[in-house]
């Protein structure tokens, strides 16, 4: 019974959104990737280099870093979410030291 109700709920949700809504979302996603025209390797390298630069200044929590391509209005965006814990002061780090 619960399963049936659940399924009905699911159906209803799907109906409300409509498949056109998922078509729109999926198109935005594939077009962003098509338009940036970088191979996965290049994207990876870009991400690494950006993180390298940021890491010179702050300690990055690298396992929680998130890079995403987004489409807002007419703009294609690279959105980076880079959590950091504290100012970098440890020895052996590349780049400028603060203080």
């Amino acid at each position: 019974m619960a399963g049936l109700l659940e399924r009905l709920g699911l159906l209803k949700r799907a109906g409300r959104g409509g498949s056109a809504a998922s078509a729109r979302e999926r198109l935005h996603f594939v077009l962003l990737h098509d338009r940036i025209d970088l191979s996965p390797e290049e994207l990876d390298r870009m991400k690494k280099e950006i993180l390298e630069v940021i890491s010179r200044y702050v300690a990055v929590e690298s396992d929680r870093v998130d890079f995403a391509l987004e489409h807002r209005r007419r703009d294609n965006l690279i959105v980076a979410e880079v959590p950091f814990s504290k100012q970098k002061t440890g020895p052996g780090q590349v780049g400028r030291e603060t203080g």
Partner: protein, 272 residues
């Protein structure tokens, strides 16, 4: 001065390029224009059949390119419209039989003689597509309201821009207003929003299209056909007229009135 060279292309196959070329060509001829259609889909010729001219072919585009006949000899006159001609593709050769400069040469010969040359491009982004757009003054991109077709149209728009032929204008084909209303199909606004180029026509899915190509009589000659009306409007827009978009060239009068109510009545009358 001289005629305008318009290439009809798409990226994805089977979206309605050949149907559009035939119908826009007939509609332009009905408007009194001198028109030549060129089938640039070498090896997969279709435009002759859709036009109902397959039994009159002697020479084709490859014969012209290779100097085996004069341009005039490869031009087949339409049965009803004497100012409408077709240059068919070869069915036996492949795309390497024609070059970009051949296409430009043929177009330059035709330009002083006609008002419009419409070139039916093959699908894809390879040599055949490059040949078809080489002489173009204007490019129409046909797409369907589906993810894969719109994605490929976006790729084509990028390539056109890189080739200095962009951005082109969009023909959205096979739209079903009932499905758009239910939220089960991308709308014309969705597609223009995503591709960010100008729309030149919205052609509904239409039951008269297949019988028309069965008979070799383009659907624009059928006055009952809504797709035919849409192609007619595209021809007028190509010809420089400012034709308002129909209330989505729609089937259901009640739905149309509802849409008008909700949209304030003027949203549907985008200018072409």
């Amino acid at each position: 001065m001289g005629g305008k060279i318009v290439t009809i292309t798409s990226g994805k196959g089977g979206v309605g390029k050949t149907t559009a070329t035939a119908n826009i060509g007939v509609a332009l001829a009905q408007l009194g224009k001198r028109v030549v259609l060129i089938d640039a889909d070498i090896g997969l010729r279709n435009l002759d059949v859709v036009m109902g001219l397959e039994n009159r072919i002697v020479y084709n585009l490859v014969d012209v390119a290779e100097g085996r006949c004069k341009l005039r000899q490869a031009m087949i006159k339409h049965k009803l419209l004497p100012d409408l001609h077709l240059i068919p593709a070869s069915q036996t050769r492949d795309k390497s039989a024609v070059s970009q400069s051949d296409m430009i040469q043929v177009s330059d010969w035709l330009r002083p003689e006609v008002d419009f040359v419409l070139i039916d491009s093959p699908a894809g982004i390879e040599r055949g597509f490059r040949n078809a757009i080489a002489p173009a003054d204007e490019v129409l991109i046909v797409t369907n309201p589906e993810v894969s077709a719109v994605r490929d149209a976006d790729r084509i728009i990028g390539l056109l821009e890189a080739a200095g032929k962009g951005p082109g204008k969009l023909v959205l084909n096979r739209i079903r207003q009932d499905m758009v209303q239910k939220g089960e199909m991308l709308s014309a606004d969705d597609v223009t929003d995503i591709l960010a180029i100008k729309m030149i026509g919205i052609v509904p899915e239409d039951q008269f299209v297949v019988p028309a190509s069965n008979k070799g009589v383009p659907v624009v000659l059928n006055e009952e056909s809504r797709a035919g009306l849409a192609y007619h409007n595209i021809a007028r827009r190509l010809n420089g007229e400012n034709v308002p978009f129909l209330p989505l060239e729609e089937e259901d009068g009640f739905l149309r009135r509802l849409t008008r109510l909700f949209s304030g009545g003027n949203q549907l009358l985008k200018q072409g």
